[in-house]
Each structure stands twice: as C-alpha cells, then as structure tokens.
C-alpha cells in the first residue's frame, strides 16, 4: 500500500510538471536575447519588456481589458450574490431548473454563446459592438464561477446567527448588512478576483462581441501570427501570468479565510 502511494505521488508530480511546462517556459523566452522562440537561449535581455512598454496599441488593449474585467467582476459578483443567497437559503418551486439555466454557461461551448449573443445584438440593436457588449458576454460566463464560490460561503453560514439577529430586533436588510455580509465578505472578494481573472483572459467572446475594440487577449491573438512580434508577446504574457497568479493567491487566501470565519470545513478548490 505504501509503495503504491509513492508511485501515485511520482505520477502526480509529473502531471504537475506537465501542467506547468508552458508557464515555466514563458519567462525563459521573455528574457531571452533572441527573436526566435526556440532553444538554445541566446542570453539575458530585458529589451522585450522595454519594447512592450512603448507599444501604444498594447496599452490601449490593456486599458480595455481592465475596464471590461472590472465591470464584469462587479456585475457577475452582484448577480451571483443574489443567486447564491436564493439557492442556499430559500426553497422555491423550479429552483433546480432556474439554477441549471444560470449555471449552463459552465458546460456550453464558448463559441455557441458568443455567436448567440452576437446575432441577438445585431438583430435587436444593430452594430453597437464594443466594450459594453463584451462586458455583457463576460458577465454571463463569469457568474457561474462566482456562484460556485459564493454558494460555498453561504452554505457554511450558520442559520442560527441570522435568527438570533431577528430575535434581537434587526430587520431583514440590517441583518444582511450586519451579520451575513461580513461573514461572506471574503467569498465576495474571492468571487470578484476570479471573475476579473477569467474576463482578463477570455478571448472567444471578446473577439466576437468586441467589434473594433480589442481587449488584451484579442490583441495577443492578432500578434501570434507575426513571428517578429512573438518575443514581445512572451513579455506581455509573463506579466499577465504574474498578475493572474498574484490575484489567484489573494483570492484563495480570502476564500480560505471565509471558510474558516464561518466555521466550515475546507473542501478546497474554486470549482
């Protein structure tokens, strides 16, 4: 049994190496003093990062992505808060069906959602594609992830705390503000950060719904076909990965603190 566990451990570590292989290569090429993305490496250089800082189109794309990511995070976390609270605290007819519809973007192919939203917008509003339409699409796909995080936060909430507040004369809203909100706040922060991270990295919906406004992934995709542009893209991606991992670590910290705060047992994982 013991040796069996060691074999599995070795496999799991190899699997992690497989998962991390591209991310580990990324900074190697970003700091490499050569234009071709291949081994052997030519030497250390920060010139791609300097070129990145001077790129105006890139800067515009980053700003677009930050706007979309922030709006998406706020919208989807708000929607998720309502849905998670409704599904964990209240019983009502058709709950399974309604929640199923809201969570469906998790398993639908992104291209199907992207084209569906595209045709509706074009048919109803005409050509209004831009950042707001990307935000609408991103909110749809980020909400289920935010619900998954917030449901866990609400589920570990002790109902008697709420009842105690009612008994002590608080009304529905003040109970929510004084008792529930502080306890699920770490979950809310975690949901905001995850939604932001997903939106920052999403390409397919942004490509379909963005019109002429590129977000960062749309810009990256347009550059991948030019071999000359690739080293700069490696530098951009290195920064992006560093930011994503930092945000995820913060999100994980808050998620765990939230679980600990409400006295739940950590079941781990975002999904």
């Amino acid at each position: 049994m013991k040796s069996n566990g060691n074999g599995l451990r070795l496999y799991a570590i190899l699997y992690l190496a497989f998962l991390y292989a591209p991310i580990i290569l990324l900074p190697l090429f970003a700091f490499n003093d050569g234009t071709i993305i291949a081994f052997p490496l030519k030497g250390f250089s920060t010139k791609w990062f300097e070129a990145m800082a001077e790129d105006g189109v890139l800067k515009g794309a980053v700003i677009n992505s930050l706007i979309v990511g922030s709006c998406t995070a706020i919208l989807s976390t708000t929607l998720a808060l309502l849905a998670a609270r409704a599904s964990t605290r209240f019983e009502f007819k058709g709950k399974g069906g309604i929640m199923g519809l809201i969570m469906m973007p998790l398993i639908l192919p992104e291209i199907v959602m992207a084209m569906a939203i595209l045709v509706v917008i074009l048919q109803v509003f005409g050509d209004v594609l831009g950042l707001p339409t990307i935000i609408l699409g991103h909110t749809l796909i980020c909400t289920p992830f935010a619900i998954a995080i917030l449901s866990a936060a609400f589920q570990s909430l002790d109902k008697s705390l709420e009842e105690a507040a009612y008994d002590l004369g608080e009304n529905k809203w003040s109970t929510f503000r004084l008792i529930i909100l502080p306890l699920v706040l770490p979950g809310i922060i975690s949901a905001l950060l995850i939604s932001f991270t997903i939106s920052m990295d999403e390409f397919i919906l942004a490509n379909f719904l963005g019109g002429t406004e590129p977000t960062l992934p749309v810009y990256i995709y347009s550059q991948l076909r030019f071999p000359k542009a690739i080293p700069v893209i490696m530098a951009v991606a290195t920064c992006l990965v560093a930011v994503s991992i930092s945000l995820l670590i913060i999100a994980e910290y808050f998620r765990r603190r939230g679980v600990a705060k409400t006295g739940g047992k950590d079941s781990g994982g975002f999904l």
Partner: protein, 297 residues
C-alpha cells in the same frame, strides 16, 4: 396564531424571498442565454442576404441540407468529434490517478494546496499556453531540440508536430482541472469503511478498487466527461494556433461563417447541428452509466 399557520406563512414568504432574489440573475440568463440560443435556432432556418450581416427572413431547410450532406462539413464534423473524443479520453484517464492520489494519499490539511496548484495553470493566459505547446511540440521545438542536443535522436521527431495529436495534448492540458475536480469530489464522498469492508471480505486491493471505488467514483467521471467533451467541440483557438489553419475543426467553420464569410444562417445551422450531435452523444453516455448515477452515496 397556531404553529401550523405560522409555518405555512414562513414557507410562503421563503418562496417569495427566493423568487425576489433569483429574479435578476434568472432574467439575465434568459435574455443573454436562452433568448440568444433561440435566435440561433431561428436564424438557422433563414436565408442569407447579400448585404453585410443581412438575413432574409424566409423559411428554408437548405442550411441543414448543406451541413449534413456536404462532404467538407461532414469530414470536418467527424474529425471534430474524433478530437473531442480523444481529448476526453486522454484528459479523464490522465486525471483520474491525480484525483485519486489527492483524495486518498494527501493529508487533509494539504488537499486544498494541491487543488490550488492544479487549478492555477488553468487560469493563466489560455492563448499563450496554446502557443507555447506549439513551441514545445513543433519541428524545431523544445522537445526536438532538447533530444537532438542530448544525442538521443538524430532527426527531429515529426509525429508530435502539427497534427491531431498536438491538438489533443494541448486541449488535454487546457481541460485538466475540469476533469480532476469532479472526480476528486466524488472520491471524497466515498465512505472509507466500504473499502475496508471490501478488503476484510478477502478482495485484493486492486479488486476493491475495481469493484468498490471505481463504481462509486463514476458520477464524478461522468461529470468530468461531460464538462470536457461538450466545450472542446467549441474550441477554435487551439486548431487555429497549433494546426495553423491546416486542420480546421467544426468551431473554425462556425467562426468563419459567422464573421469572415458572413453567412449567419449557415453558421447557425452548423452550430445547432454540432450541438445536437454532441448533446446526443453526451446523453447516450449518461444513459449508459445511469446505473452508477442512481446509486445513493
């Protein structure tokens, strides 16, 4: 007030509160998911107009006839299904031992750290990850140049370059956490005393795994299969970047029809057909495993 009527009142107000809360997110999903999907189905029966993004609202089944009879669409569709099938198989088979390891051999306090490590790569720059797989697997890629410089091979390996295999590896990498997490959750639910019972009754460790653990883990495996199989059909980034446009999958066809070629009705018909095929395959798979799903934990 009797206890009974106050209970009834509470139940009523609970349902009311539930509806009040769920209304906004439900409306959002209706407007941005259900209505758009219905529109796609409607458009798939319409006729393409000559103008940019113009659709003539006359009923026709021609888009479907073309989708289902044209040799090109048929071959791309079957290639797509084959890729999705291979990706699902690879992802789930590779992921199961990892989920098993984390659930059975990692101390409880370290489990969430492992899950966190497994999910991190999933959240980081999808496009660049796909591109880097091309760099790793390509003709002059990391694997080939590494093996050449070590003298293990004297010719670059070609079977890992631009082909279906490279697409499968890349997608298996992208969907790894989607497979690991549901399997992990169902493994966590297994009552450990059942395994001891199996051993006490004289089964070997392997037979206990086969006859107790695996059937109980099947709900997670089915979940993993669905959550990998369905979305992979919609991926056009990976075939585009890895295959360089030489190995288009069905999502590339949809993307081209919707954007570049600007034939939305045909694009819609291809998308609806793809979803029907994938949905049917997924449904059959769930039915085939129904006996595992009905078992109560």
């Amino acid at each position: 007030m009797t206890e009974r009527s106050s209970w009834a009142q509470w139940a009523r107000s609970s349902a009311a509160s539930g509806y009040a809360l769920i209304a906004t997110p439900a409306l959002y999903a209706l407007l941005l998911l259900a209505a758009p999907l219905a529109t796609v189905i409607y458009l798939s029966f319409m006729t393409d107009g000559p103008g940019v993004r113009e659709v003539i609202h006359t009923f026709t089944t021609e888009n479907y006839v073309l989708t289902w009879t044209d040799e090109i669409y048929r071959s791309i569709m079957s290639r797509s299904l084959f890729v999705s099938f291979m990706v699902t198989l690879t992802t789930v088979v590779l992921a199961f031992p990892v989920a098993y390891f984390v659930s059975f051999y990692v101390t409880p306090s370290k489990k969430s750290l492992w899950l966190f490590l497994i999910t991190i790569p999933f959240w980081t720059s999808y496009l660049v990850r796909v591109f880097l797989w091309k760099v790793i697997l390509g003709y002059n890629g990391v694997i080939n140049s590494g093996l050449l410089s070590l003298g293990i091979i004297d010719q670059p390996i070609t079977w890992i370059n631009v082909n279906i295999g490279a697409i499968v590896v890349t997608l298996a990498h992208a969907y790894a956490p989607f497979a690991i997490l549901p399997i992990f959750v169902s493994l966590e639910k297994i009552d450990r005393s059942l395994l001891e019972a199996g051993r006490d009754l004289g089964e070997s460790a392997f037979m206990t795994f086969l006859r107790v653990t695996l059937p109980l883990a099947m709900p997670g495996v089915v979940g993993a299969v669905l959550i990998v199989f369905i979305p992979t059909v919609g991926d056009y980034v990976t075939p585009d970047i890895i295959g360089g446009g030489k190995l288009p999958l069905i999502a590339n066809v949809i993307q081209k029809q919707m954007l570049a070629i600007d034939n939305m009705p045909l694009g819609s018909a291809v998308a609806v057909s793809a979803m029907l095929i994938v949905g049917t395959a997924a449904g059959l798979f769930v039915l085939a495993n129904a006996r595992y799903l009905r078992v109560k934990k």
